[in-house]
Symmetry: C2
Subunit: 158 residues, 2 copies
DNA sequence: CTGTGTGCAAACATTTTGCAAGCAG
DNA sequence: CTGCTTGCAAAATGTTTGCACACAG
């Protein structure tokens, strides 16, 4: 499994353009801004988050949420973004050009923390070996309540 | 895939009844059938899957999908079922009465091996602690190719 | 120029809510 | 009896599609 290394925006953009060319698709300003925005904000976005952020940062650009959906799907099909479904608040997207990591998710506020633990990965390999599996990838999501939400749980009484 | 069942239905049903009583809620046949169906079919259900299955197996019972949603939410809030989001479109639910385990999944033949590794769980707790999270549960799925499929990959040329 | 891309509105899909009647406790 | 529960219909969300015009290549 070849994990695309941390690239800079130029490289990412080139990859995107190459992808478009390969499929006889066109490079448009909407598509560029979507990619750029994903790059500049390394968070997890719902399509709507992304749409609103773009509208805010680029008041000049006309863009519809339809285009955001279509572009995210295009990017996902081509593995430039990854989508995760965290029970809370729908499906979220992030650029896949980051090094591998897993997620810690707050079930109350939806906050997401990324982490990476080489020891866990080692143990996963070991388990795979025991069962004679050749691992390709994995999915690990830890669900819980973040500090803030724990505090507000104690503090509030409705 | 062996199904681990160390709760029997009676216990589960009692837990459910206790829960209802505690909240001054009522024990209805719809709620019972939903729980029973989840118990008898240890798969992952979308609300609609479950609704259709119940309609099929209990043609006499009137039930609406609304009730399925409401009951699943009730069960989830009280940790009797867990919801997982696998890929596209759909939150899926399963009973949480199985002992905790994770999955090793063969991407070729679909074989699923359940495993449990206390060391990994420890490390997960540690990560949660670092980020001040109180863990509720987690999802870990390792994807790979099982021994048989690795062998047949070598042997066969389609 | 050609054919893809876009925004808009409408269509879909999924989940939640308001309501009047039904039933558990 | 009381008031929670139910199914239905309608509403609220979230996502996709049809279409005519815009524009990249």
């Amino acid at each position: 499994m070849e994990q695309i290394e941390n690239f800079n925006y130029e490289e990412l953009l080139e990859a995107f353009k190459a992808l478009l060319k390969q499929n006889s698709l066109k490079f448009t300003s909407q598509r560029e801004i979507i990619l750029q925005t994903l790059y500049q904000n390394p968070h997890h976005f719902t399509p709507e988050d992304l749409y609103l952020l773009i509208k805010e940062n680029h008041p000049d650009l006309t863009i519809g949420i339809t285009t955001v959906y279509r572009t995210l799907n295009l990017l996902e099909e081509n593995s430039l973004v990854t989508s995760l479904s965290f029970g809370i608040n729908g499906k979220k997207f992030e650029l896949s050009n980051k090094p591998h990591h897993d997620h810690l998710i707050c079930q109350k506020c939806g906050k997401i923390i990324e982490f990476h633990d080489p020891k866990i990965e080692q143990l996963q390999e070991k388990i795979a070996k025991i069962h004679d599996f050749k691992l390709t990838h994995h999915l690990m999501q830890l669900y819980g309540i973040c500090k803030k939400c724990q505090e507000s749980e104690n503090g509030e009484n409705s």
